[in-house]
């Protein structure tokens, strides 16, 4: 078959969900994935007696059967929720900033969170309550914008979501200061910032607030068999719906004619005719390599955007239980400072980046590894292309050096000894991410949520960003920004939009 109604390029989170939406809309759909596995970052791998999760620390906005988050609602609609066994993450996070004497463990649940904050920072209660109220309104407003496909009347927004509009153009810190939140409470509340990868002086408040709200009120989830279970469930669903999915097949070119998209050329030269493409990869690649005759407007618009963090992760299989190791929490954020702009600066260079977001999987799922062992994974982001300066002959040494920095940091901040109990170790650098997912510079978070390119303006400009008929984007580089749930939502939005385009013959 050399003809499809739609082709999805990439079987990452965004691409897989988009494909199901296309199939549900009745389009004959082909997914091509250049790797031999689905999921992109959402996968797992085995080493010795351990199966490591490749990326997912916690799935945001999933919730439970009686307190459904938006991702669960989406998965219900896609028909995949029940194909996956879910776990709840026990607590929100522990943030440690030794140099600033900060060490706080925060729970899920709005009231519990507010109460715990009041314990750490007496007098913070009101401002945190106000934070949550703002966040609720933002969430409703965003749901409305999503539904409307980005085409919203500003007078309607002003009338119905005044707080959303008022805070909509400000950074996290600007709004928290206006709420008169005590500094220490701000520091604790801002711990999640690295998940969005822009510092709190530039990060859009509405974006951050809606994420924190979803975490705290819906909790966080995790599939038992790692994110590979979600990815395979999505593939299963694609096949059930009659879709085709080809692995080890890269799309090299997207063909266009005067009416927009006309086909896709695969790496082996084979041409697939289609009028609709959903690209689950970076516009930098699509406009830089995959399309000919790119308009100056698209070139300028793509050049204007800034890559978000490049990823580095270390995976450890330890031959002691987490009790024996003294690892008490599931999710750690370890920083040098809660001055996030300063921390962001430090994260630009390999030699100064000691920040980490670290997970002990056994604290959420004790049976994830054999009795008496522990699985941990550590992640950091690089806020510049410093890995591009690493010479090939130095690569392995630099990789090992950074892993050592990570272990030492964790040991110093928590007082645990990991070093003597490592049975398996695996390290992923920006080069690894560049290889497996094809992203430029090993970026794992799409385009940065800078003030001007944050969630709100992207959602509001979905129509303008659709510059080529038949070509839309899904995944971390698109309108919902990066992260698992965002990537799933982007696939949902783009998939449904494409079904609409197809039905209208656009």
């Amino acid at each position: 078959m050399n003809q499809y109604d739609a082709v999805v390029i990439g079987a990452g989170n965004g691409g897989l969900v988009a494909a199901i939406r296309l199939l549900q809309g009745g389009l004959k759909t082909l997914v091509v994935e250049k790797h031999n596995l689905p999921g992109g970052f959402a996968t797992s791998f085995r080493r010795g007696r351990f199966e490591f999760e490749a990326s997912l620390h916690e799935l945001n906005d999933f919730g439970t059967e009686d307190n459904k988050g938006d991702v669960r609602v989406l998965f219900d609609e896609l028909g995949v929720t029940d194909k996956i066994e879910w776990l709840q993450i026990p607590e929100a996070y522990r943030v440690i900033v030794k140099s600033e004497n900060l060490d706080a463990v925060m729970p899920f649940g709005k009231q519990a969170f507010i109460d715990q904050m009041e314990k750490y920072v007496p007098g913070s209660k009101k401002s945190i309550q106000h934070f949550f109220e703002l966040a609720e309104e933002i969430r409703t407003a965003q749901a409305y914008t999503n539904k409307a496909g980005g085409k919203v009347e500003s007078s309607y927004m002003v009338k119905n979501f005044p707080n959303y509009v008022k805070t909509g153009s400000y950074s996290v810190n600007e709004v928290l200061d206006a709420l008169k939140m005590p500094k220490k409470a701000k520091d604790i509340l801002n711990a999640y910032w690295c998940y969005l990868g822009a510092d709190c002086d530039t990060l859009s408040f509405t974006h951050y607030a809606s994420m924190v709200l979803r975490y705290i009120t819906k909790g966080a989830a995790m599939p038992k068999m790692r994110s590979h279970e979600i990815s395979l469930a999505l593939v299963e669903r694609i096949r059930e719906l009659g879709g085709d999915i080809w692995f080890n097949v890269a799309a090299e070119k997207i063909l266009t004619d005067k009416n927009g998209v006309s086909g896709v050329v695969l790496a082996d030269g084979r041409e697939i005719k289609t009028k609709y493409v959903i690209a689950n990869c970076a516009p930098h690649l699509v406009f830089g390599k995959m399309l000919d005759n790119v308009s100056l407007k698209d070139i300028k618009a793509t050049n204007a955007r800034k890559f978000a963090g490049r990823g580095f992760s270390m995976f450890l299989g330890l031959n002691k239980s987490c009790d024996e190791l003294g690892i008490t929490n599931h999710n750690y954020f370890l920083y040098d400072t809660m001055d996030t702009a300063k921390q962001y600066e430090l994260m630009k260079k390999i030699d100064t980046n000691y920040a980490q977001a670290t997970v002990c999987l056994n604290r959420a799922y004790p049976e994830c590894s054999p009795k008496g062992t522990t699985i941990m994974y550590f992640t950091t982001l690089y806020m510049s292309d410093d890995w591009g300066n690493v010479k090939p002959e130095d690569y392995f040494k630099v990789k090992d050096k950074v892993a050592k920095m990570m272990i030492e940091r964790f040991e110093k901040d928590t007082g645990c000894n990991l070093r003597d109990h490592i049975e398996e170790i695996s390290i992923a650098t920006p080069m690894t991410y560049a290889h497996y997912c094809g992203h430029p510079e090993g970026v794992i978070y799409g385009y940065e949520s800078q003030y001007w390119d944050g969630l709100n303006p992207r959602l509001l400009m979905m129509a303008q960003d659709h510059t080529i008929r038949g070509l839309r984007f899904a995944g971390g580089y698109s309108m919902r920004l990066s992260g698992y749930s965002s990537a799933y939502f982007s696939g949902d939005i783009t998939g449904r939009q494409t079904v609409g385009d197809f039905k209208r013959g656009e």
Binding site: R46, M225, S231, A233, E236, I299, K300, M431, A434, P440
Partner: protein, 382 residues
């Protein structure tokens, strides 16, 4: 509605600012550089030489090491960055079959990075090696995939002192490690206990004897020959203890029989910190022969091939000339990850699949024997 965000940051300006979100982004986008977008990125270029797909390689030299082992040197089309101890997959169409075999790299990492030269140590042991011994000549074209594998020195878990136990052609990864130590690519001290039946069966002795003894101590152990200057017998706990430093990492690469023996000796070792060994590819199984029908889907193509129950599905597909992915051929790397549509099967050795693979019915054809007719969906080779 609850809380009103009254405390306007800039008063009436808030609204205006919100209205400007779109024009502001439009402005930023229109002010981007007109320069063509990059077509390549430095990180991705390094990634490309670390994780090479299929590439052409030309045989440039053949050196006879022992009666049954030869060193084959290839010129690669692209530079390759590997970690000493890793292997590559050598691939060639022979008759109707598309044959793939993993072989450890014996040459140094900087050789392949700077000179695109790669040496594999190949022992005459089966179909592919027989072909190479009888037919391969300088100038022949092959394909190479790789590097892969995790049998290398890990500075964060392994001790600075390593005792390497090699048997026969199991010397290969340690040759690369020794060269990497000399080049400064690796930083550890290696005591190499190299077992062979007789002196004449020692591979690469000339190279080993030239290594700087302060960094790499080589001890030859002959099983079936008494000779001055050599250790004798099996590589036992007693022998290892004789050369062992206070605390060390033990690495092993050799035959299954030797591995079994060594495993039995482990508890008698003094100072052992951790033990790592390289797994061998899976071969034939010994059952009453039967032939089944194997239906293979690759993208939108469907093939029907004969699968005999004493060979893995991977071998059956390769015999039929199908281009399917593989790397370790031992069930561990997941390159051959395929979806089972129907049929019964057995797995050689431990099941190394991911949990969700088992749940959703995925298999690794390289370690899977058919027990009935089967139908599977396989990715194309990269």
């Amino acid at each position: 509605m609850g809380y009103k965000f009254k405390k306007q940051i800039f008063g009436w300006m808030d609204l205006l600012r919100f209205k400007k979100l779109v024009p502001n982004r439009e402005k930023h986008l229109s002010e981007g550089s007109e320069k063509p977008l990059p077509t390549s990125y430095k990180v991705n270029e390094v990634a490309a030489i670390l994780h090479l797909g299929l590439q052409k390689a030309t045989l440039t030299a053949i050196k006879e090491e022992t009666k049954d082992t030869k060193a084959y040197t290839f010129e690669l089309s692209l530079p390759m960055l590997f970690r000493a101890g890793q292997y590559v997959t050598l691939r060639k169409k022979i008759g109707d079959s598309l044959v793939n075999r993993p072989y450890g790299v014996a040459s140094s990492p900087l050789e392949s990075l700077h000179n695109k030269s790669l040496t594999l140590m190949i022992k005459k042991a089966g179909f592919f090696s027989d072909y190479l011994f009888d037919n391969a000549k300088v100038g022949d074209e092959f394909e190479i995939v790789g590097p892969s594998g995790f049998f290398y020195y890990e500075p964060l878990t392994d001790r600075k002192e390593v005792i390497a136990v090699a048997g026969g052609s199991g010397i290969t990864p340690f040759l690369a490690m020794a060269k990497a130590i000399v080049e400064g690519q690796e930083d550890f001290h290696m005591t190499l206990l190299y077992g062979a039946n007789k002196e004449e069966e020692i591979i690469a002795k000339d190279e080993l004897d030239k290594l700087p003894q302060d960094k790499i101590k080589v001890v030859y152990v002959l099983a079936n020959e008494e000779k001055k200057g050599y250790e004798h017998g099996f590589i036992s706990a007693e022998l290892i203890n004789k050369y062992a430093p206070e605390s060390y990492t033990l690495m092993f690469c050799g035959s299954d029989g030797m591995g079994k023996f060594l495993n039995g000796e482990l508890k008698k070792l003094k100072g052992l910190h951790n033990f790592k060994s390289e797994k061998n590819a899976v071969g034939m199984r010994d059952v009453k022969p039967a032939t089944y029908k194997l239906t293979v889907h690759i993208n939108d193509q469907v093939y029907e091939v004969k699968a005999s129950n004493n060979e893995t599905l991977l071998v059956s597909m390769e015999r039929a000339g199908l281009s399917v992915p593989s790397s370790c051929r031992a069930g561990g790397c997941g390159f051959c990850h395929s979806k089972l549509v129907s049929g019964k099967f057995s797995i050689a050795g431990a099941d190394k699949r991911r949990l969700a693979d088992v749940k959703f019915g995925y298999i690794h054809p390289c370690v899977t024997y058919p027990d009935s007719d089967m139908e599977i969906i396989v990715p194309q080779a990269k």
